[in-house]
Symmetry: D3
């Protein structure tokens, strides 16, 4: 069995740090670190919902993912300078938004909107899963903020916690929480979003080159669920639970 | 158990039609129909590869997905008029491209590029999976075209066939090949891309509202693999096999 | 006198086919073929008119023209990918819209809008004139749809039928309905839009290289009017007349 | 017979002024006035031609038309601020470019490019025809500039002069050179581009509302040819002929 | 001491010409010339203010700066064609707007907006300062126009006149009103906006290469204030004062 | 005399912190804090220079400024989402770039480029001046990195240090280093960029409402120079001097 670049066991997460309230002005914020991956998540509350949703009594939660130009080994051009958002950015923003909405009873939220910005300050693999995991913490604080103001339609909009982790097969071995060096070598790469009680919100598996078998898929899902349980613990602790 | 809008069994595909060479000028083309869903797939070959790939000896395969404004029940604005491509379009184009590349030995393709355009002429659910399934047929003909011109680096670039199908849970029942009316009601929605020998290229499952359990996931994967085997038969037949 | 690539007489149209209701969801649609040129026309009705027209009691009719990337011999980039619509596309869309509005009494239409999408699936010359001719059929069905719903302000919004054809001078010979191979060689190229009773809606003649004389212009107008009379017959028949 | 707003006869041009060399830096320039319509035309020469034309031995001539925001009665937003060029602007720029190319033997021009900017400083109808007429003067001076530098492939690239004028039917009366107040009321509106020896380069006639008969078309063409002969005289005089 | 390209003294302005009411339709307009630099300034009045300002009782003044493609020695691409406005254009437009707002008591203006377009027809250095100086004249006429219509909230919205001039250090010598040839050689370049009674609205000094000392800064400010006093005289005279 | 929101003296900076090498991958980076204002500056080196500069033997230094959506009290839309960069962002990016180039002997840099990204993570006024001050530290480290690789044309490209600070008049009192609450109330606002030996690189003063007198300008310049001397000390210390 091959050893990992940072000496971790195949089923071991990187060191996880969640710094709550990193930004002074947001209604909820967290700087989350999965090893050298650092994502700043900020939740912004606005009264009201988009036009197409008005009068429904339901709230709305969205996310925007972005990466600083020099979060990575070599510099990437800004999407604002290129004048359009790339396909990868769109795809990840949509994934984060869907995942967070699975955590929320939108009727309890009332006609309020929460926008979560996930800005990757440093990228060493797993940025989208770190973003989801950190965004949940920011969202939870934004919901508390609404609660304190008496703006919720019902008491408990948060029906699940959600966290996410990447898993993959490298040199035939299923591994948890890939760092960048592993990610580029993975034969199969999967991002899994799991609720606090171990059910699935999203499963996105991709063969990089060689298609994967059902037994590999099963092993990866096992790893991911175990990793997300651990991440849920970190979220709980960060939120003072 | 609830019955389906068109009376199909839960594990039954809609009528599948593949009209090969629908367009006169493309190096490969197919009009594929999954019931009322109609997608026109056209493969365009160009010599050479994008700049970042030159000198690698490897070919390249990409896809672009789009929908006519009135493919759907109500008209959608053109992305060319809005001046930018939406997140959903980007995401599907990337999925189709990745799926097709899993069918190809890019070193056998040589430094040639194949661009597959998948234009949805009519949409009744499952457009992305129909697009992948039809695009494979167009791709196979484009590869034959290259072969006849003696432009391949090695004889057999096509190492797998790929097809795709949607599956979902509606009223608690796992179903194969969702039509639009089912798609909007699905609790869980999954698109699965499978090779001709039953291995996975992509698994993309999303909880719409309620998270899903491992046993539901397993049932959906079983349905999808069986459906894709059937689709591989249609592809084989269309290609004169 | 030189012979035409497909053996037609100088004053002969290509085979014309109009398949009414090709798309299932549009309020009116037609797939029109001028030989190998195939254009899908779909009419979409919306209640109300653009802001600048509100309260006028008048309806509005617009058109958008587009071409699939591989409608042509070599692939063209999508305008949605380039992020802007080219000058040629704009110009043709405006021409189609103006031509259709000449067919309609906008006060009888009431404050309803009809948007006609003309998507070229295959292009062998004369795409804009085929689009106008097919769009009229889609428009007529959309008007009937409004009539059945009781949404018209007066009974007969259709005051003219309109059809269009290209004419040109090749090797000194005036010819009707140019195919692509002729179009690129034409010394003079003219698109003419004519009502069902032989009056002009648009005349757009361009010298490609050598300016043209008044007698050449007259000969081309004669050809075009005769061709449009024949096209009006095809429209009438397609509409069940 | 109805009288015109400025008391002109139906076949009379507005006062025409051409100020040659209005801009100090362009290789050719002219401020042209058709009554209150003022267009500044500037010709810029660059060595070489666009990539798709290299090695052909042929030159290239293009034009760009634009209007200052307050050239008109009410202010229009800048196209640079809106971030895209409107359909009308594209269409007119293409018309001017085609018209000028009809004046030039591109093989005599050699692989040089001339770009003509036509900026409307004040607009009282007929801006596109004034632009063509003025642009010819700027083009002629740019060709002389190339000649003096010894950069032409053959001696006489200018094979025709071109000028343009609008004509239209107002209250049933065919009129020459419409001012804005007439233009908005015209039943039929036609822009005609004519060479110095009275042949046609472009004929663009549009029914505004009511289709037009062949005899009306003929009367408008007669007016336009006579008007362009007069404009050719103004061009000749401005160029010191 | 080095002599200037046009023989002026170091503290001398170029010949200044202000042609009031150059455009027929604007509520105020002026063609201003600083030597060979020519800028057309047009003020457009609209009732009401931008949404974020409504109900404030305050008016609004903005400016847009642009340059014709061939205002300069070599042609520049149009920003409308490039599809976006460059940083320099934005910066100058904002500067002109701020400078003009310093001339106006926005509460006296009432909820009216004045947009000033400054289009550079010919550029020989100092275009932004000429634009500010000319824009003030157009603004003053637009304010009079509002006054005559009885649309002002109070009688005297114009509390200052503003004019602007560039100064710079060339070969160690501080000079007033740089022409292009001097501008490119300047070690330090400063644009100064001054009110009619000699107070500062904007001071923008930039070291081009070598940082500048406090005594150089002081000398430049002295020159600029003297120049602006002279420009204020030209404005006063143009406005019939 | 009015007291400041945080109790500082009028000539006192906020607490300044510079964390060198905050980002792991950039050739130079610094997180700079002016009180609650936090800007992350990252320098990226690339071999070669933009096309227009090739063969000159000179290097190039640019900067891009941006703000996270929730750096501020209320959320701002991303410029990447809006599809274009605002005027303010352009203006600040250009200012930072010019300021840094004043620090560098570009001939000593050789044909290498340094791009400095300044991303505002939290904004409490003075973000552009904090960005310049922090960017210098990142630039210095990028130059050392080039030196260690032997890529410099001459030994000492850094000829000056540069730092920047805002000053302004609030309630008639000139103050150093304005925080947001002061910035919005300032009558005059000035950003000053100063070299390590007290000479000026940029002076940008703006009257907000009331024009300012020469003696006020002088007082602000005195404050700014003193503040920048102190900032130069912080830079020196951060760089291990």
């Amino acid at each position: 069995m091959s050893s990992r670049p940072d000496g971790r066991a195949a089923d071991q997460l990187r060191p996880i740090t969640i710094t709550r309230n990193w930004q002074a002005y947001a209604e909820g914020s967290a700087l989350i670190e999965f090893g050298d991956t650092k994502v700043l998540c900020a939740a912004s509350v606005t009264e009201g919902v988009p036009r197409w949703r008005r009068g429904s009594g339901l709230g709305w939660v969205t996310a925007e993912y972005s990466m600083l130009p020099r979060a990575t080994l070599t510099r990437n051009d800004r999407e604002s300078v290129r004048g359009k958002i790339g396909g990868r950015t769109h795809e990840i923003s949509r994934l984060i938004g869907r995942s967070l909405r699975a955590a929320v009873d939108l009727s309890a939220l009332g006609e309020n909107s929460v926008a979560i910005d996930c800005d990757v300050l440093q990228a060493d693999g797993g940025t989208r899963t770190a973003a989801i995991t950190g965004a949940y913490v920011a969202l939870a604080d934004a919901v508390s903020w609404l609660d304190k103001r008496g703006s919720l339609a019902k008491k408990t909009p948060l029906i699940n916690s959600v966290s996410a982790v990447s898993v993959g097969v490298i040199d035939g071995e299923p591994r948890l929480d890939l760092m960048y060096e592993e990610d580029v070598r993975a034969e199969t790469d999967m991002n899994v979003v799991v609720t606090g009680n171990g059910e699935f919100v999203e499963v996105q598996g991709t063969a990089e080159g060689v298609p994967f078998r059902r037994d590999e898929l099963d092993a990866l899902l096992d790893l991911a669920v175990a990793g997300c349980v651990e991440l849920a613990g970190h979220q709980h602790k960060a939120l003072g639970g």
